[in-house]
Amino acid sequence: MPAFRVPAFLFALAMTGLLTPAVAQEKRVAHITVALGNPFVGTVAKTIQDEGKKNGMAVSVFGGPFDAALQSQQIDDAIAQKYDAIALFPANPNALLPALTRAKAAGIPVVLINSGIASGHDDLYLSYVGEDQKVLGQIVGKMISDAAKGRDAYKVAIISGTLSESTPQSRIAGFKDAIAANPKIEIVAVEDARWDTARSEQIAGQLFARFAARGGLDAVFAMADYMAFGVIKSAKAARIPLGTGKGQTMVVASNCAKMGIDAIAAGEQFGTATQMPARTGRETVATLKQHFAGQPIKKENILEMVAITKQNVETFRTDCTF
């Protein structure tokens, strides 16, 4: 069958080059995550892999687009493969409950990373590692309400991550809490840019045009630094002055990336918050290590969250590098 030589060759290539047989005694960890192309997600995965290796764990990474069904399948596969633990970056707060129930039944511990699952199911996971998304929203909300002090009116637009996920919903909730005290602040738009730089830039352009006639936007809350980057580019193109003063637009974000740190140092972005993927990855591995050593584990490992502005930006330069 000469026609099948080609695929046979391809398979042989795939098999020989990419098989990574597990070394004995190493703990096998399945890191099931979302789109690895996303800078935040990618950095978490890379840190878990590197740190895991240092700590005697063999970490296999299972990515995919934000695909809950695929994740559910991957959890089932990990159960079947008898992994020692699962580190899960959930794509959906609800859709993984059945799979997590099966993992629990199989006795495989699950560490949730960055995003939670629907409340009332605390028994399904070992520990949550990450920031409190609501608090991240509050930190940004506080920056805005500080800036809005003394203004008669203050228009804010939110350029959000994928709205059907829990993370953006929580951040928006926290943000609303923080600005509730000041009725002058008005959220004029919530747009879904799905964690994407280019889409953020495009949406920001539309928003700037829409509100140009009504005195412009006072602030834009882009949910990630790489999204804020798009907003700043768009503002520059539209010749919108950036800053906190009247007639200027203030850009804030709620996780920190290198481009955000640079923009804050340059004065183009006002601030961001400490959601740091490398730290999350390190903490995840630390939690797993404690679990394998039989040590007690914090159920909710909420990492420290502070605001990053021009005053303290340099102290975060090392951690915000993704």
């Binding site: 069958m1 098999m15 809950a68 069904a69 859709a95 709205l163 059907s164």
Partner: protein, 330 residues
Amino acid sequence: MTSISRLIAEPIIRACVLFLFVALVFAVSAVFAGVVVDATTMFSVLQNFAMIGLVALGLGLTVLIGEFDLSVAGMFILGGCVAVIVGSNGPVFGLAVAVLIGIAGGIIQALLMIRLGLNSVAITLGGLLTFTGIAHVLTESKSVLFNDLSVALAMNVPVLGVFSLRSLITIACFLAGGVLITYTRIGRDIVATGSNRHAARVAGVSTSHMLVGVFAVSGALAALSGALLSFGLSAASPTGLSNVMIPAIAAVILGGGSLSGGVGHPIGIAAGVLVLAIVRSGLTVLGVSPSVHEIVTGALLLVVAILDGPALGERLYQFKSMVTLRVGSI
């Protein structure tokens, strides 16, 4: 050699051979890698099969009749959302409503196509966006939780070791589709419509009825598939719990479907879906990096495209003579 090339030219047989070949490669690789292949692996393959299967079947039937139903991806999402929202009154009721909406959606699209004389790609692209939009409205753009977790667990309990309720339903649909196409007049009329629509009409086939029927089935299968997945995960999301479109198209092509119509068979499509399912599960079991999944799938599609191209035998012959020529001149 000639008999083998003729077999390869037969799309269904080619799909099945491809399936056996891929299965064999993974079985051998698993032995060498020291991975145990057991019932759980089979179960995982069949779960993947259930995830893409029904959408691929519906899409494949529209391809067979010479059209292309892009809206299956939208109906998949809408079916899931409707089933979960309505299913609070009982999951079977939710499932039924979802399937009815799928049928209605398919019929409306087919009628538009026939009445306006438009191409299915244009109409179903509209359908895709409309159905997704309705799903967003119904759920207010949020992921929805189906409260009865026991349904989800029941859906995925292994039956006879390797099957689950979802995969059994999927297999049943494929068998029904196979019987429909091979053993009924309707099946022949569908193939004739896809093969040469004008000829079928002249011969007395009611091609419009066939189109409406096929799109109704396609919509129903997509909605059913979405509903089953949503119950299996006990959640629905307007952005989709899974990206099924690309794998479904890939499965149809791997299964021997031809975009020019008239070629394809549910059994071939099933083999195509199984190939993808094995690639997915198999590579996961072997611990291969996920990005390789796409590369392997892409390579398989390329191979099938080459095998499917016109005058394969002639090209193989030319290739051979070219090789001999080169060798001879050295």
